[in-house]
Amino acid sequence: MNMERTGFKTNSYYRSLTRNMFLIITIVSVIPLILVSSIILYQFHTSYQEKVHAHLEELVQKHKQNIDSFLKDKLSGIQFLGKTFNFEELNDEAFLQDILKTLQEEYDPVFVDLGVINTYGLQVAYAGPFKLGMALYGTADWFQNAMKTEYFISDVFLGLRGLPHFIIAVRESWMGEFWILRATIDFVAFNNLVENIRIGETGFAFILNKEGNFQTKPLVDIVSSKAPYMDFLNTEPGSKDKIHVVEKTDQSGNENIYVSAFLKDGDWLLVYQQRVTDAFSNFNNALIVTLAIILLGGLGIVTTAYILSRQMVSRIAGSDKEKEMMNEQIVESGKLASVGELAAGIAHEINNPVAIMVEEAGWIEDLLEEEEFQEGQNLDEFSRALNQIRAQGRRCKEITQKLLSFARKTDSRVQDIQANDLIEEVVALSAQRAKYSNVTVNTDLQGNLPTLRMSQTELQQVLLNLINNALDAMEKSGGVINISSKLEGESIVIEVADNGPGIPEANLFRIFDPFFTTKPVGKGTGLGLSICYGIINKLGGKLEVKSALGQGSTFYVRIPLPEKKEGEDEGPPAGSDSH
């Protein structure tokens, strides 16, 4: 039944085996790879994001402080002027020019001009590059606001001069009436404070006022709409000192990172904006490299799994095949054994009737010797016929004996054997086959060889195999087999030489390998020579071959003699019946 099962192993069985192995190897190796990589990537991404956010927060915090201190600095300068000089002193335009000059020398040239405005909004004195003397600011927003508080910093506006700027105004009183000292801050200088914040390719900063108007010049091409920034202005009124980091997708579909902080006591909002892809470019590069490695590794795993499973399955298929052949061999030898038993039984059963027939013939012969028959006319014919019966009876006996000696294959008892007797027996057995193959078998045996100690049937098997191989080789052409035996040192060497086609050199090293055969499928199992090799090897002997193409092959069976022991002489040899 084992045979049947292995016999049914079709291609689809091996294909599904290959596929299963391939899948298992791939899944088992790829899934952990992907899991580990994704966990590591996720962790790395999180910590990298935290790092980037922290960095940007710090950056914005620093600039917030910078801008705040810039404003405070300028404000305190103007406040100092307002406190130090009174309205009358500053009303003098020449004096004002001096002060402006001093201011511009002391500070960076951020102060564009100075103006003194009376309580009605009339600019009574002006120092600066523009012709703004006697300008009336009574209705201007900043003036209205400035009159309400001690100091005021306006939003950026175009004003009378038509250039973006903003105003720092300080309210002082003189003779019971408020007056205002006003300074204009150069927009470019202020804008630089913010515009210098540039990181990567898309990172930039700008300032918005409460209405969402830009207080600095943003990169117009990037900032297309104010809408996203209005959220920051509206949703975070309370937390003025906090810095907010938000990631959002804008209208054009780009994911941006926004960092915002309030300036100027919540009047302005400093916003830093950068594309996420840009902020995380290092991470993204690492991600690409990692993915490439995972992909390549996965590819490697898949390839290896494919090749490995293919190889494994072809191995399995090979060993299945070998097993199948082995099973066949076992079945064959089982058959042989039962045939042998059958032959033994038949031989035994035939022997008895044959014995009776021969005895009866003998009895007739005995009777014929009596006087009354001596004159019989057919006496000669009688005795010829009786002799014939006896002769044929003996022939039957010989045949059954041969059959029996061949059938008793399972006999592996170690005994003393005469190599020459065995050779002759085997030659006699193969004589018929040799005759059909047109092969002559010659023997050249050295007399008085010492006995060997081994299983008779095993040596029989070895010799029969060698002779059969030689006969197979010369089946078509016919030829000569020479078998010789001789004593060589401490061993007996039996040579089986044929003059057949010979063995190609490439096969010469493999002929003793199990399952190596040059015979067509189904004809030979390739086990014969390997079994012979095993038998001779077990005895400590050697089985060697010499062969050349076209010159025939010679097999040498070298069997060591048993070590001599005193008094080891067994009784009469088995075949002591005399004939």
Partner: protein, 143 residues
């Protein structure tokens, strides 16, 4: 006087019958038996049987068992085993148990005859020795 008194034991009746005729013609006194059991019974009844030709393979009591019994009750009787080729091993085992020799079926009448003669000679020699020993014992007692 017959050369020897022989018992032929084989389950093949025609074989025994023919053999009896042939051997009787050659001056042997033959007693035949067709099974191991019968052989033992006859051996008890008949006096002076010198050689038993015993087939190895018989239904019921086989040759080896019969041999053991014969050797037990009649130690001086010589036994020649008769065997088909397939039972040579058994025959050899029989010789280890004390059989005189073995013969293969179908056997040549001359060979069988000579074996029987040898066996008879051996048996008679044994008997002579025993008689001699007894005589010695008796004579030594007189002295």
């Amino acid at each position: 006087m017959a050369i020897a008194k022989v018992m032929l034991v084989d389950d093949e009746v025609p074989f025994v019958e023919t053999m009896t005729k042939r051997l009787s013609k050659r001056d042997l006194h033959i007693v035949s038996a067709f099974s191991g059991q019968e052989a033992l019974e006859r051996l008890d009844k008949t006096r002076n049987i010198e050689v038993v030709i015993l087939d190895v393979k018989m239904p019921g009591m086989d040759g080896i068992e019969a041999l053991k019994e014969i050797k037990k009750s009649h130690p001086l009787v010589e036994v020649v085993m008769l065997t088909a080729y397939a039972t040579v091993e058994t025959a050899i085992e029989g010789m280890k148990l004390g059989a005189f020799d073995y013969l293969m079926k179908p056997c040549d009448i001359e060979v069988l005859l000579s074996k029987v003669e040898e066996a008879t000679a051996k048996k008679r020699k044994h008997e002579d020795k025993i008689i001699e020993a007894r005589m010695k014992e008796i004579t030594s007692r007189r002295i």
